[in-house]
Amino acid sequence: MLTKRVIACFDVDAGRVVKGISFVELRDAGDPVEMAAVYDREGIDELVFLDITASHEHRNTVVEMVRSTADRVFIPFTVGGGLRTTDDMRLMLESGADKITINTAAVQRPALISEGAQRFGSQCIVVAIDAHTEADGRMRVYTHGGRRPTELDAVDWAREVVERGAGEIMLTSMNTDGHQDGYDIPLTRAVSDAVEVPVIASGGAGDSQHMIEAVREGRADAVLAASIFHFGTHRIADVKRQMQQAGIPVRMERADYDDVL
């Protein structure tokens, strides 16, 4: 049975992980590659790196990070932030990323989705959607890191990006993001039920119970978290064990590279 994935997300600024990190085992708590290796060992299923500076001056730093990650970590990882052309995508994929994610660029020029899917395959193209549920119940899509409202409805937009070739949707609720009070279940479920491709729930993870709800009630195919792992308040293995105890299929094995090889 296909397992539900637990994904850790790193916000990276000029090659350094931002947001306070208090993970004791790290020699360099701001080094994304070092963190990726530790999370891999802890049993994370997948990683996402979001380059929040996303400026061209820093592109080389990001490429270096992607290459170093691919050298040390043998699980899938996604890179996003400021990718605007298929050549931008190609650079990341060639450097070792398995998927790329686009958000604002996809809203501004939806053809970018199909161009990427055609050139690299749908499986590489993750469209990130930031959505906010308004007072009237409307689920509105925002761009520019949640700063700019659009006229798009989240469910309609999700259907469109899949039509255009997105292989996966990373769905962040601006209502729940940062509160650690649980994922946005109605939004997640509405989008997940509307599309054939996997949906990653994001925004609001505070504990394993939230992840269980996102999968059960929200019908998410994967759950993404940042702070609860980075601050060390929740260990990946514990979260996954609790999900398993709740009857959710998760990958429990944590085979060590040196032991197996």
Binding site: M1, L2, T3, K4, R5, D40, D45, E46, R67, A70, D71, F74, I75, P76, L93, E94, S95, G96, D98, F120, G121, S122, Q123, C124, G167, E168, S192, D193, E196, V197, P198, V199, R219, D221, A222, R251, E253, A255, D256, Y257, D259, V260, L261
Partner: protein, 220 residues
């Protein structure tokens, strides 16, 4: 024990994306692979790896444009060690339904067909397409390819089409996603995986090691 570093391992480059990950995985198990995109590179190879992501039509077009179709077919026909990964498995089939009806390398009899997806019906979980994530793999028979890997170990899959093989004996291991899917094919010195061993953690790397270490000892 085979000295992996001494092997002439060729990873075929036909503009198919995740080459670097495969190169790094093969290096991590102690081999020194070479990347090549011409058929002549197969002449002296001890082992050939055909990676790949993307669509069947593009894959076949790229292989044809580089003149790799006949060299690959001849190499496999001579029963020399070959490992296909994901699209590198699907390309070995007779034909693929992906984006039309595309003839493939026709090494393994059978077709590449679309995964049957389904939505959540209130009781049963959805089966999204692509089949994306970690799933358990069950060998059907013993093989050196699975040395040191427990039955039901997890491997990382991402695909929307799967191989419907005509000859059941070619199927080494299966996984389950609504239907039983071929996860690994093995026929003598030819092996191929639907999942990505280079993205499947320690056991994934072990597949590469087992493939390379088993060279010369052939079919289990």
């Amino acid at each position: 024990m085979t000295d992996l570093a001494a092997l002439d391992v060729i990873i075929l480059d036909y503009d198919a994306g995740n080459l670097r990950s495969v190169v790094r995985a093969v290096e991590r198990v102690g081999a020194r692979p070479e990347v090549a995109s011409v058929g002549a590179a197969l002449d002296e190879a001890d082992a050939v790896i055909l990676p790949g992501v993307g669509a069947a039509a593009d894959t076949m077009r790229n292989l044809r444009e580089r003149g790799l179709v006949e060299p690959i077919r001849e190499y496999i026909a001579a029963d020399r060690p070959f490992l296909g990964v994901c699209m590198g498995l699907q390309a070995l089939m007779t034909a693929s339904d992906e984006g039309g009806d595309h003839p493939c390398l026709d090494v393994l009899p059978g077709r590449v067909v679309r995964l049957p997806g389904s939505q959540h019906d209130g009781q049963h979980d959805s089966r999204k397409v692509p089949h994306m994530g970690w799933n358990r793999v069950w060998p059907r028979r013993a093989s050196a390819l699975f040395d040191g890997i427990p039955d039901g170990a997890y491997f990382y899959f991402v695909h929307s089409y799967y191989c419907d093989l005509s000859e059941a004996d070619d199927v080494l291991a299966v996984t389950e996603y609504g239907v039983e899917l071929t996860a690994v094919v093995q026929r003598s010195n030819l092996a191929a995986t639907q999942f990505h061993p280079e993205k499947s953690g320690a056991y994934g790397l072990r597949i590469y090691r087992n493939f390379l270490a088993g060279l010369g000892s052939a079919a289990a």
